[in-house]
């Protein structure tokens, strides 16, 4: 798998899952926190990616 966005999504999924399961005991709260964290990770990565777009490597 070479797609950067897919790897990013996969990474965000795993990290959100583990954090949510550690932080909350109730399943509904785990799903909610995990979803919020996952969305936050992906959205911030996309926004940061676009912000860095004008800068040359």
């Amino acid at each position: 798998m070479r797609s950067h966005i897919l790897l990013l999504v996969l990474f965000a999924f795993f990290v959100s899952l583990i954090f949510a399961v550690i932080a909350k005991d109730d399943l509904r709260e785990q799903v909610r926190l995990g979803a919020v964290m996952f969305a936050g990770f992906v959205a911030s990565a996309v926004v940061l990616g676009w912000l860095m777009y004008p800068f040359p490597l």
């Binding site: 798998m1 996969l10 990474f11 795993f14 550690i22």
Partner: protein, 130 residues
């Protein structure tokens, strides 16, 4: 102040619990009866580690002349038995030319660090803090 036999036994149990939790992700939670949490850790963390290896990430050597390499090695080491198993089987050499090399490193390092967080959580549960 003298330590009683019961306190010593409890201390030994806690050390064993933390070691088990470190060696096998989720083992501490399963031991403490937190079955669902333990199973999630048992599946997700080794899978994340395996993806890191499949992406040609590197298991860094304990070389503290370069502090970042040393710290990454410590983070990788957090994965417990899977770390030693991968080393023994010859995985984790890393391929810096691979497009996915840095992603692989991120998966390996973060899987190890998350496992250390899981160990701390198991310790807290054992002490009744959670």
């Amino acid at each position: 102040m003298r330590v009683t036999a019961a306190e010593e036994s409890q201390y030994g149990g806690l050390v064993l619990l933390c070691l088990a939790s470190w060696a096998i992700p989720g083992a501490g939670h399963l031991w403490l009866g937190r079955r669902n949490k333990g199973l999630v850790f048992l599946v997700a963390l080794p899978l994340m580690f395996a993806i890191g290896l499949a992406l040609r990430g590197r298991l860094f050597p304990f070389d503290f002349s370069d502090p970042l390499v040393g710290l990454e090695a410590l983070a990788d080491f957090g994965m417990g038995a899977a770390y030693f198993l991968s080393k023994a089987l010859g995985y984790g050499a890393g391929d810096v030319r691979a497009v996915t090399y840095e992603y692989g490193n991120a998966f390996l390092v973060v899987a190890g660090l998350l496992n250390l967080l899981v160990v701390i959580d198991a310790y807290d549960v054992a002490l009744g803090r959670k």
